[in-house]
Symmetry: C2
């Protein structure tokens, strides 16, 4: 016998969770489609060079996938953005720009297994390809707002920044431009590890002085009274960096557009400490935190990646987008008590006690299904009313239909409302009507 178990960092979703998770997917998809995004599907397996960009120092831990006696270097994708960039470059005739696509799928990373971090998880991405306009980035922010709201989450904040503003940091703080990547990487860790820790690392590894640290700290903490005031402040602070000034102007355009799209000011903020870890971002970056559960990190993040597609194409194509970390979000909602588990999708259980009634029961099941009412026949081993009713209660069926010997003779059935615990005898031809009445259909 082989012990039934999973590898490290992997998890199952049993129905009690899978039913509500499925509803979460449906909601996200309906919002993404409302925003005009169309679906795309690509394989989980990609050629390794596509994923790493041929970078020999590629740092993310990815899973190599191999067949015996085969030469191809395949790996499991670690996100849905790189495959999108490949697709855009690969099908220039089929895909017309601008192109708004969504994709939902599993991705794999060799993360150290820990709470809320998995080695296989689902991402739900929306991206706009072929538009350099800030109205596109605003649309992504609007999408993030609408998605979170429709998921029934009210306590969230979308934090927005611009990599171009951050690229003005070498001038502002006074450090070598080549240290920028490392500085951004540390800033990205600010929320998880706190200022003391990242300041320590900047001192030790990058040789930052107290004065530099204090300048950086005041920059990261900077907040105006509202989005417009924050950008005014950025312009004052960074007026020596043309790149940062361009970033600030982009943020101004985003503000106008996000407001026109009806996103309330209090649900989003411009926050200079948002860096986002991934290397390919070039402009606006976004993340979404749950304000009553900040430790879980961002659940919906993204940014502009104007150079990524050029990895696979001679044409440079701008793009922006964001991704819901569905599994992390699900864990968060569970922690917040916002996930109502459900044991069944069926509304009716038809009990079955004897061979003589079995075919009548099947006919009833078939009638109920034809009336679009999700229905199950009891297929288990319990032979008593008590045993089968206990199953119906545990599996939370709202309605039970049963045929005892009396009902069989009278060609009737008992229809039981499990919530009010009342039972009515009806003719077998009237079952659908009675069930609809109980279910308010």
């Amino acid at each position: 016998m082989i012990e039934p178990r999973l590898g490290a960092g992997l998890r199952d979703y049993l129905p009690a969770e899978a039913i509500v998770r499925q509803q979460m997917f449906d909601t996200i998809r309906s919002v993404f489609e409302l925003f005009g995004f169309v679906p795309l599907d690509t394989p989980g397996l990609e050629l390794e060079e596509i994923l790493t960009g041929g970078d020999l120092n590629f740092k993310m831990q990815i899973f190599r996938a191999r067949l015996r006696n085969e030469e191809e270097n395949l790996s499991l994708r670690f996100d849905l953005t790189v495959p999108l960039a490949r697709v855009i470059a690969q099908y220039p005739n089929e895909i017309k720009l601008p192109f708004k696509r969504y994709q939902v799928g599993k991705v794999w990373r060799g993360e150290k297994p820990q709470a809320g971090r998995f080695r296989e998880f689902v991402q739900f991405d929306a991206d706009i390809v072929g538009s350099a306009k800030m109205s596109s980035d605003a649309e992504i922010i609007s999408l993030m707002y609408e998605t979170m709201t429709r998921l029934g989450i009210s306590e969230f904040l979308i934090r927005v920044n611009n990599r171009k503003v951050l690229n003005g940091l070498p001038e502002y703080v006074g450090f070598d431009k080549e240290q920028t990547t490392e500085v951004l990487r540390l800033i990205d860790k600010l929320n998880r590890f706190g200022w003391e820790n990242i300041a320590g690392e900047m001192k030790d590894k990058l040789g930052f002085s107290e004065q530099q640290l204090s300048l950086l700290k005041s920059f990261l903490d900077f907040q105006g009274d509202n989005q417009t005031e924050t950008v005014k402040g950025i312009k004052k602070l960074m007026d020596k960096s043309p790149t940062a000034m361009e970033g600030a102007r982009e943020l101004e355009e985003i503000i106008e557009n996000v407001r026109a799209l009806g996103v309330p000011d209090e649900k989003w903020t411009i926050d200079l400490s948002v860096a986002r870890g991934l290397g390919y971002y070039t402009g606006p970056v976004f993340e979404t935190v749950l304000t009553n559960l900040p430790t879980i990190g961002s659940v919906f993040s993204g940014g502009r990646f104007d150079d990524l597609i050029a990895r696979f194409s001679t044409t440079s194509i701008p793009a922006t987008g964001a991704s819901v970390g569905v599994d992390r979000l699900f864990v968060a909602l569970q922690k917040l008590g916002l996930v109502q588990t459900k044991r069944t999708v069926a509304q009716v259980l038809v009990l079955n006690f004897d061979k003589e009634s079995e075919l009548v029961c099947q006919t009833i099941v078939s009638q109920l299904r034809r009336a679009a009412i999700p229905t199950n026949l009891y297929l288990g081993k319990e032979e008593t009313i008590k045993g089968q009713l206990a199953f119906a209660i545990r599996e939370e069926y709202p309605v039970v239909v049963l045929i005892g010997s009396t009902e069989r003779e009278r060609k009737s059935a008992a229809v039981r409302d499990m919530r009010s615990r009342t039972q009515t005898e009806v003719a077998q031809t009237e079952i659908v009507i009675k069930v609809k009445e109980i279910l308010n259909l």
Copy 2:
């Protein structure tokens, strides 16, 4: 620059296909839920011993998946049935039997790449665990019928057999019991390779005589006038094999139940040549062929697997189910011209010619979306009406909203019905009403 391409046997679904494929998934899921199946999700990565059952002679080519410097032997799953068996054994307290679950997900096999065969493909499975009753198997057949019908396919035939009947072949044909697996494997190839080829192999490899071959052939070809007559015939032919007789009695029960469930006799048949390749089947087996495209093979198959769960558990738990080969089915429907591609999910494109109108346009977009009408703002580079309208036509938008300088001054908008090619000027506050009128909402 890295060439954008895919590994062998892998494929992308661009939106024109992905939109309709998504609808196909939705339809399948809605039928499965109507039948009371609940969703389950398990990882694509499983421990290798789970997948192979520790069988050192495991023959299917599977993808091993490895992280650098890690010891775990993980592989990509090749079906959704083995993971189901693991789950049933792993969570005895959470999962109450009988248990009806559906699962949709990618599976991976090292197939030789060829038309309609992929190395990564989606399966959509429904299984009933914990019921030995033939009413469960009948339910699977009913599910297959209903799913195919709701997918808009009318030219199909569900072929049913019972492994127990086939297990009577050694007595009937007169060969060694130990050759049964190999005989079944060859029978499974009958439709693809034809009788001449498999008879040749039986002669060469198994030493079958002409008389044996002729007995086998007459058995495989045997068909009564209807399901009941076929079973009567089986009982006459196989009366010396108790196993085969039990199989025939099971088929009788299935016939009654399938009829009670309202499946028309002409959409299914009992066919003694159905064997199904997978080793774990123990009783009734099912497959679905498209009668106007038989070469593509079965698109929805399964069977009873009463012993599989015992691989992971000391309790023996019966189970039956079937799986839609979604990608193969999709290829088939394309070949039959039953797939209507679609370029967009949005109903309205709001054009945008100038910076001055951009925010008004965004407000209109937001209003339409709030009215549940999927809408896109034009985000591309075309600056002329002609260019943006050409985009709207190519992407097949039914409605276009545009604001030229006249409309901007009058706080109005032109709403264009792209199908009738008529255009109406309405106040900006009336756009939603006008669009709904055009779309009949």
